[in-house]
Amino acid sequence: MTEIIIVLVKIIFAMMWFLVLTLYLTWAERKESAVMQDRVGANRANIMGVRILGLFQPLADAIKMFFKEDFTPPFSKRFLHNLAPFISFFFSLVTVATIPFGDVLRIGGKTIRLQILDLNIAILFVFAMLSLTIYGVVISGWASNSRWTLLGGLRGAAQLISYEVALGLSLIGLVMVFPTLKFSAFVEYQGGLLFGWLPKWGIFLQPLGFLIFFIAAMAESERVPFDLPEGESEIVGFFTEYGGLKWGLYMFTDFMKLLLISCLLTTFFFGGYHLPWLYADGFHFPWGGTWLLPHGIVVLFQVLAFNLKVFFFCWMQILIRWTYPRFRYDQLMDFGWKLLIPLSLFNIIATAVILKILG
């Protein structure tokens, strides 16, 4: 019974973390873009005159979206049109189950892994769920029964499928270095040291794999350099016929994918919850000297380290989104098929050769 309660609490915490952070990513995006463009950004939303940097803005947006009319175009295929946003949203949200937020926490004789589901095939699970989000895009484009949304949906599906190939191939090198598909094992492998001082993070072992994964993952999130499926301003995207909360779900899914990518990058390439030189009993510095810490503090440090890394990647992706112009469609396809996929194949071969040489 207690185990079921523990799992439920973990699910609730992880989902709260995911959804609240996603909500505040919208605020972060507005603020960061404003700073980059020398503007003030969203700062008006207030509760009784208190407006802390406009931190209430996402709540105001949410309330606005809730009270908008939920309009389904009469010419649309009603059931699928209503279903589509939930497909995207659900399958993006489910992936949070595999993310390790920290190592085990020991309370009152119980060891709790700070991860909802430690799947043996976690990577494949995440890919499977991501590949199912494509249906949200395709179905919404088709069910809206307008040729422009249909084209948008097909553009989106083609892009997502193309970059999924590069995304999968870029990780094979990493799987060769850390022979596992389990997220917790990935992170444990990265806890070691290279040359006695450098943390054994994925990025130091697989720099090319990291670059390819990062780019392909950004294409999966459908944000600006890769936002051809949506094309908010000029080209008509797949969710043009949506309004109110259902449109909001699509926007939310984008930000959720941004956050998910940050989590995956952290887990795969930046040591997950590891701080350099922090072990289960405290810090052991490579220049000698130790700083022993109680178990609770170590776990706290781990969770904070994970969050910090995730925030860094969120910041980075928003930075990229507001820096680059959009790809043209043929450039996008060329980039994916002719550059990223051959590079990731090269990465696999190079990794195999190096592993063989090192024995």
């Binding site: 095939i121 494949l124 097909l154 499928i161 598909l181």
Partner: protein, 177 residues
Amino acid sequence: MALCQKYNLPYKMQEFLFFILAIICVGAVLAMILTKNPAYSALWLVLAFLGIAGIFGLLDAPFIAAIQIIIYAGAIMVLFIFVIMMIDVRKGLSPEKKKWTLFLSGFLGLVLLFELITAATGVFSQLKTVGTENIGSPAGLGRLLFTDFLYPFEITSVLIIAALVGAIVLAKKKENE
């Protein structure tokens, strides 16, 4: 079954899940055959694939379950739906063609049924022995594919490449005309 022993679950629960998934699979496939609109049929087939992935999961073969979703539901069916939605097949076949296709599909259906029966009778005796560790683990599957079944594996991939190249050649020819 295997999963019950591994996680110490009551056997009834597994049975219950199996029947739910089986109903989803069979229902979705029936709906696929019976719906007129090909786009809806394709979506029903996706649901059937998801159900099959669930059954693989029940058999303690999560790797095959994930691959089932990634390859069939996530990639192949998306491309099928892609084409179906693009060309928007509304009109049925002409009556003369319909006779022919009815005959042909009946014949092919019978051949397929015969093939399935011969294939299935060979493994009926082994039905109780599913769920060894090798089925579940990616490492075991990979080892089998690259040692015992290397030739069939490579021949299959050559076949698929041939089909791909053939499709590209056919598409190119039309462009030139």
